[in-house]
Amino acid sequence: MSVEYENYLRMNKFPHYWCPGCGNGVVLKAFIQAVDELGWKNNDIGMVTGIGCSSRASGYVDFNTMHTIHGRALAVATGIKMSNPSKHVVVFAGDGDASAIGGNHLIHACRRNIDITLIIINNWIYGMTGGQYSPTTPTGTIATTMPYGNADPDFDLASLTIGAGATFVARSSVADPIILKNYIKKALTHKGFSVIDAFSNCHIQWGRKNKFGDPVKLVEHIKSVTVSAAKAKKMSPEELKNLFVTGVLYEDKDKKEYTESYFDMVKRAQSQTKGGR
C-alpha cells in the first residue's frame, strides 16, 4: 500500500530547500513511511530540530514542530517530552548540530534514556554554512576549514551514543532506504532514547571537494565505506579498518525510560509527608 505523503507534509512549503540529489529527502521519506506504517496521528507527534540543512525538516512535516537554535534541539525536545510524556517526540539533526555544538545535550539525553528518537543525518560536513569540517568529516578529506586535508580524528556517533547510554542505536544510509525505514520504525517504537546514525550524501559541500561531486558516485562511496553487521561478523579487524558497520548496533529493553523514572519519583514524593516543606 502506498503512502499518502500529503497527509504528513505541509505541501505549501514545497519545493523544499535542499540541493538537488540531497540525501535529506531520502531520510525524511523513510521517516514518514515509518510513521505511516505505525499509524501514528499527526497531532501526537512533535518534531524538534536545531540549525543546519537537515534541521529544516521540521518545517515540512505537518506535526507539532519547532526549529530551535543550533545544537539545542534535544534540550528543547526534553522540555516538550517532559510536559507531554505520552506524546511522540522526534529530533532531526545534522552531524555538527548533534555532536559538536549539541554534544553535551546528546550525551545527557542518552544517559537519561528519555523516550525521544534522534535521527542524525550524518553527511560529514557543515553544509548550510558552506562546507566546514564537522566532527564526522573523514580524516584526511578536504573541507573549507581544512583545505590541506582534515587533521582531526572523526567521531563514530554510534559508539559515542552507545557509550553514553542510549538504549537503541542503529546505523544505515541513504543507499538503503528501506532498511533505513525499518530501523527508524524500530527506533520510534523503542521505549527509551533511540539513535539513528543515517549516513547521507552532501555531494555539494563535501563531495565536490573530494571527487564525489556526483550524488550517485557519493552514494556509491557511502556503500563502499559501510558494511552490514552480518558481513562484518565474518571479517577480520584488519578488513574492518576504515569501515562503518551498519545494522541495529545496540538494543537494551531493560534500562528504565526517563519519564517513567521521573514520574515514579513524583509518586514517591507525593506519598511522603516529609521533605516537601
Binding site: 537554535i69 539545542r72 534540550a75 528543547v76 517532559m82 545527557h108
Partner: protein
C-alpha cells in the same frame, strides 16, 4: 488573609513561582541562586510538576522553552556566568514569543567574579544581553517580600505578553532571611496566556487579528503549528520580506513599550517636596531609604525614586520627579548602569513610548531636567551603606 513567614529571597521566589502556577523548572546549580532550584526540586514533584537539573545552563533555558510550548508555566534560575550562557535562549524566547521567567540572583563579575557577594551588575545585560533588537522586561524586587510578589508578577507579564521576563534579585536578597508578610492567596492576581478559540485550521501562532499579542496554543492540543528562531510571518514560517519584518520587529518591542504604564512600577518615597532625589533599586534601595530618613531628620528635603521594574524603565514617572528636582543622586551596586538611562531621560526630557516605521515616538510632555546628576556607585562585593548615600546627600544639599 495576610500570611507571615520567615524566609530568604530565594525561598520567596520559589513560593511566588508555585503560587503563580509554575509547574516546570529546568536549571543548573550556581551560587547564589541554587536554593531556587533546590526549592523547586522539593516542591514540584509533590505537585506532580517537572523539575529538571539539566547538563548546562543553555540546556536549562532551552528545556524551559520546550516545557512552555508544551503548555506549562516554566522558569529557570541562575546567576552571573550562567545568565551569560542563557542569552541565546533568551533571544529564542523573545522572537518565538514564548512565555518564560528567568531568575537572576545577581553576583559580582565579570566572569566568575565574586560568586557569593552582592552586585547589581546585570542591569544592562537584562536589557541588551541577547543579540539583535528585542523587547526586555526586568523586575527588581527591593525586599524579601517583593521576591514573592515580583516573581508572581513576572509570570503574569510573561504569560500576558508572550515574552521572557527577568526577576533580578541579588546575592544579598537571595540569602537574607527575615520576617515577611505576604498577601493572602485570595488577593493574588494570576494571569494565564491567551489560548486560541478558533478552529485549528484557522489558527496561526503569530496571528494579530485579535490584538498585538497572538494567542498561543499548547503543543499536542490539536493546533499543529511551527515555531522557529528565524524571523517569520504569522504562520510561524521563515520570512524575509522587509516590510513584514519591520512591522514584526516593531510589534515585538511595542507590545512591551505600549504597556509600560502598567508594567513599569515604581515607588515614590518622601518625594512630595523633595529637591534632592535619590534613585535606587533592589536591595540597595533599603539603605537609600535609611539615608533619606536620616537626612530628613536634619531638615534636608530629599526623597527616593525606586524603580521596581527596571525594564522598561518607568521613564514618565521619573520625568515628573526629575522636572522639579535640583539634584539627582543615582546609587547602584555596580560602576554605572541605570545611571546612563537616568542621564538619557534627564538630558532629553523624553521617554520612548513606541517605535513606529523606524521612528522612536517620544513623550514630550515633560521638559528637560535641569538637575545636577551625581552618583554613589560601588562594585566591591559589599552593599552600599546608608552613610555613604547620606554623605552624598549632605554634599549636594
Amino acid at each position: 488573609m495576610k500570611r507571615a513567614v520567615v524566609a530568604n529571597g530565594n525561598e520567596m521566589v520559589v513560593e511566588g513561582a508555585i503560587d503563580a502556577g509554575c509547574r516546570f523548572f529546568a536549571g543548573y546549580p550556581i551560587t547564589p541562586s541554587s536554593e531556587v532550584a533546590e526549592g523547586m526540586a522539593r516542591k514540584l514533584p509533590k505537585l506532580g510538576g517537572v523539575f529538571l537539573q539539566m547538563e548546562d545552563e543553555i540546556a536549562s533555558i532551552a528545556c524551559a522553552i520546550g516545557g512552555s510550548l508544551g503548555g506549562e508555566k516554566t522558569m529557570t534560575a541562575s546567576s552571573g556566568p550562567g545568565i551569560s550562557l542563557k542569552q541565546e535562549g533568551v533571544g529564542l524566547a523573545c522572537i518565538a514569543e514564548i512565555p518564560l521567567v528567568i531568575i537572576n540572583a545577581m553576583r559580582g563579575g565579570p566572569s566568575t567574579g565574586l560568586p557569593t557577594r552582592i552586585a547589581q551588575s546585570d542591569i544592562m545585560q537584562a536589557r541588551w544581553g541577547t543579540h539583535g533588537d528585542h523587547p526586555a522586561v526586568a523586575l527588581c524586587p527591593g525586599s524579601v517580600a517583593e521576591c514573592y510578589t515580583e516573581t508572581i508578577r513576572a509570570f503574569n507579564i510573561a504569560e500576558e505578553l508572550r515574552t521572557p521576563v527577568y526577576v533580578l534579585s541579588d546575592a544579598f536578597l537571595a540569602h537574607l532571611s527575615t520576617k515577611v508578610e505576604l498577601p493572602g492567596k485570595e488577593e493574588l492576581k494570576i494571569a494565564n496566556r491567551l489560548r486560541p478559540t478558533v478552529k485549528p485550521e484557522e489558527y496561526y501562532p503569530y496571528d494579530t487579528r485579535f490584538g498585538d499579542i497572538p494567542p498561543l496554543a499548547d503543543y499536542f492540543s490539536g493546533y499543529r503549528f511551527h515555531v522557529t528562531g528565524l524571523n517569520h510571518d504569522k504562520t510561524g514560517f521563515p520570512n524575509i520580506d522587509p516590510v513584514l519584518q519591520e512591522s514584526e520587529e516593531e510589534r515585538l518591542i511595542n507590545k512591551v513599550l505600549k504597556r509600560q504604564e502598567a508594567i513599569s512600577t515604581y515607588e515614590n518615597y518622601k518625594l512630595e517636596d523633595a529637591q534632592i532625589v535619590v534613585v535606587a533599586y533592589g536591595s540597595n534601595a533599603s539603605g537609600a531609604k535609611e539615608a533619606v530618613d536620616a537626612a530628613r531628620e536634619s531638615g534636608i528635603k530629599v526623597g527616593l525614586f525606586r524603580p521596581i521594574t527596571v525594564w522598561p524603565f518607568p521613564s514618565i514617572p521619573f520625568q515628573e520627579v526629575a522636572a522639579s528636582a535640583k539634584q539627582i543622586i543615582v546609587t547602584e551596586v555596580n560602576l554605572g548602569q541605570i545611571v546612563y538611562e537616568i542621564e538619557r531621560i534627564m538630558l532629553g526630557g523624553r521617554a520612548v513610548t513606541e517605535i513606529r516605521n523606524g521612528n522612536l515616538i517620544f513623550d514630550t510632555r515633560h521638559p528637560r531636567s535641569s538637575a545636577e546628576l551625581s552618583t554613589v556607585l560601588q562594585a566591591n562585593g559589599t552593599p552600599i551603606r546608608p552613610n555613604q548615600i547620606l554623605s552624598q546627600i549632605k554634599e549636594v544639599a
